[in-house]
Subunit: 200 residues, 2 copies
């Protein structure tokens, strides 16, 4: 005894979503068919539309509906600095600070050999070509301060150093509004090590 | 600064799935567009197909591709008993036991006023009509032994008793292979209360 074929097919298809196993897929399928048929047909439409129009920007590799994304095409940006981030969300976060006016490169991931993500999967050849365009003078590594993000930054910095490109990494230290009593010891130790002179 | 419109639209559409908030929806959308475009287009296809061909069986209310599902149409089934379950999964589980040969009615939920699920949402009018067809002589309530499943069974039994229909509830007690030492006290207390005579 099983569900009807079209329903089994839907349950199976829902499993392509990350973190969705057989039980949740079945729950989702039941829910959609029973309570949100409109949402389901909207989802099908959005999937097809996104697959058709969303691709990667040829320059910065982020998701874009144009071959070159609006940010890369903008004449207002400083073309001499290139900031490397892991995901489009990181780019959006940095843009929201309004503290950076240069260009970006989005890795779409981080080095993670256990998950089968190596230099090829995070488009390092494309990054090297981009950094070597003769205009870029500094590459800022803004990958996460996790073990994997750190390893990725280290790997990229070695590649770029071999090509004589100036490389920097975003600073670590106390968060704004942070109290010493509540910050974790790793961050505090780093803030101590990387202390800066108050008078120049 | 935001994602491209088609991507934002996809993230928004993914939120129709139960238990998916803005962060997971974004993660899912990124994953599909970056690593599983084939899965995404398969999902769109399955959604459209299921929406088109899957509806509820007119008799038992379960998901079916026919107006009357194969189980309700079968000549081999005992038409005099009607087993009421919450979800199609429960029906499948019961069928897999091969211990029951009667008919079913699937509520597609349980009474849960806090979630806005009342008698209408679980199709009780359809159930009453079905149980009153003149052929059914016993209704077996096989809703879950949770607070809500129990309340649902109680509510249905009152409705049916008013119409003079025989109603029973699946038994509670020790699970097969269960050891008294490890079973929960509620189950054990119930097994003691509902003990049966060994000699008839």
């Amino acid at each position: 005894m099983k569900n009807p074929p079209a329903l089994e097919q839907l349950i199976d298809s829902l499993r392509c979503l990350p973190g969705v196993g057989p039980k949740s897929a079945q729950r989702m399928a039941y829910y959609l068919l029973q309570r949100d048929r409109q949402g389901a047909s909207g989802l099908a439409l959005s999937l097809n539309n996104a697959l058709q129009v969303v691709d990667h920007c040829k320059l910065c590799n982020t998701f874009s509906e144009q071959a070159i994304c609006p940010l890369c095409e903008s004449a207002q940006r400083d073309k001499t600095v290139l900031c490397v981030v892991e995901m489009p969300t990181d780019l959006i976060m940095l843009e929201n600070t309004r503290a950076y006016t240069g260009m970006y490169f989005v890795l779409m991931g981080r080095l993670s050999p256990l998950d089968g993500i190596g230099p090829k999967e995070i488009h390092l050849d494309k990054l090297i070509k981009r950094a070597n365009d003769g205009i870029v003078t500094e590459v800022i590594l803004a990958t996460n301060y996790t073990v994997e993000g750190d390893a990725t930054a280290h790997y990229i910095s070695e590649l770029l150093r071999a090509r004589g490109i100036k490389v920097s990494r975003i600073a670590r230290g106390m968060p704004m509004g942070g109290e010493i009593e509540y910050v974790d010891t790793g961050t505090l130790a780093q803030a101590m090590l990387e202390r800066r002179s108050v008078f120049k």
